[in-house]
Structure formats: structure tokens, C-alpha cells
Amino acid sequence: MSAPTIDHTLDEILKLAASHFKVPREKLTPDDDFFKTLGIDSLQALDLLTRIEHHFRIELPDYELQGVSDFRTLANRIQARL
């Protein structure tokens, strides 16, 4: 089976973030700083990463999130593992 496109991955991540932190999906955009937009700290971001892992059935070391603060970069990191 072919890997999903980056746009699809990004959209899935935005949906997961919206659902996990209970915010309307339309309020999130790919280049948002998720710490600021969602008002979360780095541990809550790691919680989101766990949810993303379960969804995509991949495993990402914590360090993959180091220096990442927007959904688009996060999607690129995920995409590289799909």
C-alpha cells in the first residue's frame, strides 16, 4: 500500500490535535505554533505525539519533536517514517 500524501498526513494531524485538545478543527492551520495556538506545554505536545503514533502505527523517539513547534514540520517528520 502506498504511503499517504503529505497533505493527507498534515490534515490527519490537524484533526487529531483538534480532537485531543478539544478545539475546532477550523481554528488550526498548518503553520500554527501549536504551543501557542493550543496553549500547551512540551509534555502535552508529547501526549499528542503518542496519539499520532497510535493513529499512524509508527514509533517516534521523543527527540523527533525537539525544535518542532508547527504542524507542518511535525507532519514532515511523521511522513518520513511512513
Binding site: D33, D41, S42, L43, L46, D47, D62, Q66
Partner: protein, 571 residues
Amino acid sequence: MLDLRQYASLGAALKDALERWPNETCLIEADRDREKVRLTYSDFREMARPLCRALEDADFKSGDRAAIIMTNQSKWLISAYSIFFCGGVLVPLDFKLSPAEHLQLLAHSKARFLVVEYYLWRAITQSPEFSKLTAEIVLVTEAPAGADLRGAYRWEEFRRKGEPQLVPRRREDTACIVYSSGTGGRPKGCVLTHDSYLEQCAALTAWYPFWPGVRYLSILPTNHAIDFMVGFIGPFVCGACVVHLRSLRPEFVRDAFVRYRITYVSLVPMVLKNLERGLRAKFDELKPRTRWMLDRLVGLNRMLTRRRPRIGLSRRLLPQVHKAFGGELQALIVGGAFTNPSTMQFFYDLGIPVSCGYGLTEACTAVTLNDLKPFRADTVGKPLPGSEVRVLNPDSDGIGEVAVRSRAVMSHYLDDPEQTAQTIVEGWLLTGDLGRFDADGRGHLQLFGRKKNMIVTAGGKNIYPEDIESAFDGLPVKEYCVFAENYLWPQKTLGDEMLVLVLRLEQNQQFDDRLREEIITRNRGLADFKRVGGYLVWEKDFPRTASLKIKRGELAADIGAGMTRARVAEM
């Protein structure tokens, strides 16, 4: 525990510890829910021995500096032990810094050796600054087969046969150089002696003893002063066990409490808050009747533990809560930043003692700690044995700058006599923190703010404005400067600290969307914990010295007098 008075160095004390408890488990390393490593003290010694021999063969000399850049794991501690054993000076660097910052601090510390985890080494080698690497010998852990290590050795293969010889060090010799800040230009490398650590360890374990069978969960990075002491030196000289987690996902942290029946853990406020959030969410899901019962039991526990913790009783009253923490937790130790008293009270009411402390890298680890006699959520505890604390120039409320004198205090800042002279005055370390002793006369210290221009994040990171200003280099404005908001408008409380970017625009320049976007983009280039929280436009030129340096104190006073906090726009 070992009688630390008998030892002159960390290397000698740790060597004896490895021989004293050969069959006790000293280290467990878990990756998520998978246990990867479990070592007895004897195993640890066997793993360190060939590394020590290899260092000897690599001409590692007494006093040589060796840096470690790694996440928490067994190889961190094995490497650190080997460096001490060979008479070296350890330079523990924060793995969350950028490659350029790592290279800068490696150069500043003059570290000859570097031990580094593969993913961090890869980032360093890809840095445009890589040619500035000063370390002569680099050991890389966990490198995949076939990886190009750019001249570094594989840690796992850097081994020699034979029996290494402990290199003796004196108490006054340097044990570690720990950077408290300064990646922006003027590094503050705190030079800490073996005496500092041995004294501090004796003081801390006098109040919170470890023993064989204790399992300490190491969550804070080991390069952090707290974890280095209570997640390495302290447990080892007492025959206790350290549990490392390779992932700090809250779900795995919660799981580790139960899986390893954790006895102690040190946390920064952000992690404590996360645990509180998780528990409160679970409580909110309870059926009304169960919730009503829980609230009554929590109230009863609070009443029964008013004077002192009664852990056995609390475990019987609230068994499910304690089971979720493994059932053997003695205390949560919290420090590194301002901790909300309500969060500490929340845990204490559940029968989980929280001991809040206060310390700074310049003072080795901790200056004060709550001894839980009784629990106090409104203080940072009492001075540790051997530490003298004074409040200088107190105002009418008794609040002044906190000063510390003890053998644990650093000897100086590396290669910076000027900053040393400003910070250690007549034997007293000037902390830059504002506090007072509580009026009840029991010696509890309360903190109220900062005198210095810096912030401490909930994750325990000290951020100095000067260190992040370079992120805004070339910003199209006349001039700019970064301040701690509470430095501009001093207040007698801690918490909610943030940095403010102060802009002076060119004549006739308007603050437009383009400039705003540029600032936001630059800000996002910083690590999340270093970001500026707001900005303001200042209408006058910045005052400068004859050598054109910004007179920060004068500018801050002008802004503080001429504007209010309300003028700070959110980033």
C-alpha cells in the same frame, strides 16, 4: 550509605560504592514500556572498566575535561563515572541546546573529550559551525552500523582490556563545570569542586536518605544539577537504584511509577502540573457517589497529616491513588522553578508528600529544602545542613536579595573573574533572587521575585535575555533589546514569567504587519522554552555606554517608569 567524610573525590566514593553493593541493582533503563538495561553495581563496574582503560590509553590526564551530551540513559552514568575515575573534569551539557550552542560551550570549556549520543552528534556534524569543534576525541553512543561518524569512535567499541588505576583527586580540585547560562555570548561555567558535591550529597541524604532497595526515577535531564545529584551521586553512594526512562511521555512516566515501585522522584513544576492534570481528569470521570467519597477521604487525610506526613495511613485511606504511583512513593521532590502552592497542596492532601526546594547551579544543587516537619506549600524550605542563608538589605516587608554561603557553592565562573567578583562577594553567593524568612521563626525561606534580568521556565530552564537576542540580529528596526518582564516592572511574586522584546523603530518607521511577521518568525526559530512572550515599542533611543553597549539597567528603569505592563503586546 558511604561515610563521605572519608573521600576526597567523587571518583573514589563511586568506586567504593560499586564494590560495596555488588549484587544490588544500581540502574534500570527503560524505553517506553520495554526494559532495555538492568545493571547491578558489579555489572556497572564491569562495563566501566574497559572504558576507563581505553581512556587511560588515550592519554586522558588528571584534570582533563570531558563533556557529555546525552539524554538520560545508562551510558551517561557509566561515562561520567569513568571520567571521574580517570581524574577528569566532567562538563555536562544540556542536550536540548542547538548544535551551534553545543560547539560554543565545548570550545569555552576546552573539553578534550566528548561523549555524545548519535542523533545529537549527527546534528553537530551537520552544523555549519562543525569545523569549530575543539574536542580531540569523540565517543558516539548507539550509532547505527555503517554510519559515518566523521572521525569519532563508537562508544561501544572504545574499550581496552586490563585493570585501570583510580586517579586520586583532592577535595579542592574541580569535579564539574556546569553551565548555568551564557550561550548568547558570555558563558557562565560554574566550577564546582569535589568538596562541593560531597558536602552537598551528605547534606541532602541527611534529610532524604537513600538505601539499597530505593528506586529513584530519573526524569530530569542528568545534566541538570538536581538530577546529577539525586539521580546519580546520591543514590550510588547509598546503594540505591536509578531508573532511567528514554521517553518522557506522560503515559510512560505514569507507568514507570507502578512498574518499578518508585520511592523518590525529582520533578520540575511543569511535570508536577502534568501529573496533577492527569489525576484531576480521572477524578472528574468518577461517578458522583464515588467522587463524593473520595473528597471526604482526601479531607480526612488532610486533617490527619496536618502536622506531619503519615504515609502508611494515607495509603490505607486512599489506596487507589497510591497504587497509581506504585504504592511505595515516599516523596515527590520539586524544584528548579516556581511551583504553585495549590499544586503541591493537591498532592499532599492525597497523602503524597511534596518537598519543595530552592537551589541554583552556582550552589551545586540545593540551598533550601522542605523537611516536611510540617509540610509547607508556601515556602521553599529551610537551609540545608552546612548552608547559611541571609537576606540582604531587607525592605519594610523583610524582603531582600538571598545570599548563600556554604562549601557547596561554586569556586568561580570559568575564565570570568569579573562575573565571579560580582556574584561571590566576601564569600557569599549573591543569588539575584528576592526572598525573606517566614515570620514564624522556624527558618523557612519564601521567595518573592528576582532582582536579576532573567526568567526561569516551569521546566526549570534559566533563560537570560542576552542569550536569545542574537535570534533577532538584523531585525529591520533602529535597535532592540530583550528583558524579563518582571525586571522592567518588579513584582513581589513568582510565576508567569516572560521575556519582552523592546523595539526602537527608525524615524518615521511604522510598526506594520511585515515587521510583526518577521519578529514572530525569528521568535519561532528559538527553542520553545526560550521564546519571547511579548513586545513593545519604545519611543526613545537606548542609553549606551562609551563603548556603545546598551545600559540595560538604565533602560529598564526608564521603561518601567514610563510605561505599564499593559503596553506589552502578545507575541
